[in-house]
Each structure stands twice: as C-alpha cells, then as structure tokens.
Assembly symmetry: C2
Homo-oligomer: 233 residues x 2
DNA sequence: CGGAAAACTTGCGCTCGCGCAAAGTGAGAT
DNA sequence: ATCTCACTTTGCGCGAGCGCAAGTTTTCCG
C-alpha cells in the first residue's frame, strides 16, 4: 500500500482547521479504495466497519424497504464524509451506498472514530456540522413531500442536483454523473413515467435538455418558477 | 432562582454515564422554565440562544414553509434533549418548538455547548447518538412518504406516537397529550378531512377510540396490519 | 348559563399522478 | 456489424385523496 499524501485531503471540508502534521496523522490509518460504477461500497444493515471520505466520483445512498422499494436518500459529492454510523452511535449502516460512477474513497476503521474525533476536535465539529445539515435536508424533504405536487418536487430535486454537482456546458448546467429517470423518481417519490413526462414537457419549453442518463438544465430560472408555484404555466 | 438538584436529571438519557458530581456541574448553569400549553419555546430562524432538556410534558417541533404551510417534524418526550442547533454548528433554530401541553424544561446557554461536551464526553456521545437516530427517523419518514398510501402513513404515525407516549387505560393505549386531526394530518402529509374519515372508519372497526383531542388505540395489531399492507381489509 | 370559537364529521365532484401496456431508441458487447 | 438489454417515451383509464362546503358537537369563557 503506497503511503498517502496529506495534500490528498488538505482543503476538504471534514479536515478544515487541521495542521499539516495533524493531517498526516489522521491519514496514517486510512486506505484508499477504488469502486467501479454500480458497485456497493457498503450495504444497509451490514456491520459498519469503516467510514469514508469521497475523493473522486459520486455516491448514491439508497434505502430499501422490506417490500423491496428503493428510495434515494442523497448523493455524496467529492470531499464529503459518509458512512459515519460510528459517529452516531450505531453499529450497522442504515442505508446502502452505491458508486454512481467510478469512485475513489478513503476508508478508516470505524473503531478509530472516538480516538480521532477526540484527538482532533475540529474533525468532530466539522463532521457534526455536516450531520446537522443532513438532518435539515432530510426535514426539508419531508416538508416537500408533504406540501408539494410531483412537478414541484422534481423541479426542486433537479435544482438541488445542479447546485450540488452542476458542470457548466454550452447548453446549460449539466448534472455531473449518470442519472436515470428511475433515479429521479426514487428521489422524489414519483414514478419514472411521470418524471419522463415532465422532462419531455420541460424540454418542449427549452427549460432542460436530456439524453439517456444525462440531464442539463438550460433555464434554471424557469425551473425555479416550476418549483415554487403550483399553477400550470 | 432556586438551586436545582442533580436528582432532577439523574437517569435521563442525555446524562447517562455521568457521575453525581458531574451532574451537579452540568446542572449549575441551567435554569428551569415553565411553558404554558400552546406557547412557543423557540421560533424557527431565531437565534439559537439555548438548548433544552424536557423535564415534563410534550413538545411539538414544527417547520413552516414560506407559503405558511406547517409540517410537524417530531414530538419531544420527557428526558429528551432538543434545540441543539449549537451542537450541529448552526446559529439559528431550524424549526419552531411549541409546548403541546404545559411543560417544564431546563435551558442552557448554547455558548456553553463546546465546553460541556468536551468536558463531559458522554454527554456529547449521548447527544450525537440521539441526533443519529433522529436522522434515521427523518429518512424513515421520507421513505414512508415516498412509498406508502395515506392510510398506511397515518397508521404508522399513530403506532409511533403510541409507542413513544402511550399510556395504558382500560380501553387501550392512549396518546398522552392533546392531539387534533389537524396535527395528525400535519405529521403525515394528509388533510384533516382524510384523517377524520380514517379515524371514523377505524372506530367502526373497534381499532381506535377517539374523542376531541384524544386518541386511544384499542387494537394495535389490526392497526399494524393497516400500516403494512395496501389492500383494503 | 348562554354564546362563540374550536374541533370534528360527512358528502360530492374532480384532478393529479399512478398502473398498465406497448412501442421506440441508444449504447455497449461479442 | 448487429444484437440485445437497459433506458425512455407515450397513450389510456382509473382511483386515492384533495378541495370545497355545510352541518354537528364539544369546550371554554364571560
């Protein structure tokens, strides 16, 4: 195993506020792992042996119901920490994490969390801050699911993805990883049929452009209008 | 202000693992406050000046949309910590907390959190553990909202309330605080009309008994059936 | 004790979005 | 090169549950 360099993680949100030598100390027990697109990084209900920081790619976090229905809980972007069951007093993962494209991640043994977080308080603080914002995100989604129509929810979901992972192209801002209608449906509590219809309608209006597994938002402002008001403009 | 006694908080989940003298130390900067039913303990978006532990009563946590729609995020029971924006790196409260009945709570200045949690690591660990389970609860609700019909969601919500706050009576298990059809609707993303219809139908089948602002579950098993399967038995 | 507000019930019609079905299309594999 | 599978589109009908409306009951308060 090659020795990992501190510059790998310098500047990433979880490690903000750490000194160079501290970074190296944190990094020492980590190993770097590649995951091919579509492979599981960890499985729901499995023993939480590791926690991770994503160095490259995108990860989809999915919860599966006893009946086999899937719901996408969130997408993880570069630099984010995930799989932190240990930090929240759990011994198993509450969801499955799947590489949405080829990924590279650092992995630490969960057992090291108490030591690491107490030795490097900023690490703990940074982590709990992201937990806080994820809790808020989750509540925001509950509110959306409770109060909005499908069209608004899909619009909100696209806007969030574009904001989180958007990559500028000549036609607009493209979501930076392969995403299907089915995926969008699982994020919004809709069916792939309805999502497909919405995207077609929006393409008609030059608000989005989509190809197989790719979505580009051309007119974010119009999409925001769709997201806000429930009248049928 | 009367000096508070350590026995007040001994045995409460957030303070598990603390010694007697530590409890007193933790308690020193706290003050005890009463809240009349219906009054706000803190408001969404307000500066997070304090965090709280509920000693008596129940608290409703509500998020309000820009359009004025309300969604009940959760209920807080005796012994739970809440309003911990500070622990999650926030400076404002993400939701409003309202006393669902007359309540007594302890309040600490938010500014003390870093010191308290580092001086008493169990306090931090206990708190983050509850944050973890709340994050999970929120995701569970997202999954429910995505995959279940209204009837199942209402059944699940009642079962959860009964489990969390149930008080045994001769007729069954009663939810321990005043709760309206509107409240249940705001927990489940339904309308009060639909909730009313469901409760009427279930009363017909001797599954629940409800009076104004009170709900008793007589037959939890039948209610679990309603919660699980989407066929119309 | 009486009046009013708050909470609850019930009926009716309509619409959003699902369920089902079937055909079309792009992309990777051999 | 073409085959095949995964992804996508589109049509049609139906039903859950909302929106609106009107009426009833309970509790609170003067």
């Amino acid at each position: 195993m090659p020795k990992l360099d501190a510059s790998l993680i310098a500047g990433l949100p979880p490690f903000e506020g750490l000194q160079r030598d501290e970074l190296e100390e944190v990094l020492a027990p980590a190993r770097s792992i590649r995951f091919a697109a579509g492979t599981a990084i960890f499985d729901q209900e499995a023993e939480a042996e590791s926690f991770f920081v994503l160095l490259d790619g995108y990860v989809r976090v999915v919860r599966t119901t006893p009946e086999g229905q899937q719901v996408i809980v969130r997408y993880i972007s570069e630099g984010e920490i995930f799989g932190i069951a240990a930090a929240l007093g759990r011994t198993t993962y509450p969801a499955t994490a799947v590489a949405a494209m080829d990924c590279v991640a650092l992995a630490w043994p969960s057992a090291l969390w108490p030591e690491l977080s107490s030795r490097f308080p900023s690490l703990g603080a940074n982590t709990y801050k992201t937990v806080g914002s994820r809790l808020q995100d989750a509540h925001t989604r509950v509110v959306e699911m409770s109060t909005e129509q499908v069209e608004q929810r899909v619009a909100h979901a696209l806007l969030r993805l574009v904001k989180q992972t958007g990559r500028k192209t000549e036609e607009g801002i493209e979501i930076d990883f392969p995403i299907t209608r089915q995926d969008i449906a699982e994020m919004t509590g809709a069916t792939l049929h309805t999502v497909s219809r919405l995207l077609s309608a929006w393409e008609e209006q030059n608000i989005v452009k989509s190809r197989r597994k790719h979505v580009t938002v051309c007119n974010p402002h119009s999409l925001m209008l769709k997201a806000e008001s429930r009248d049928k403009t």
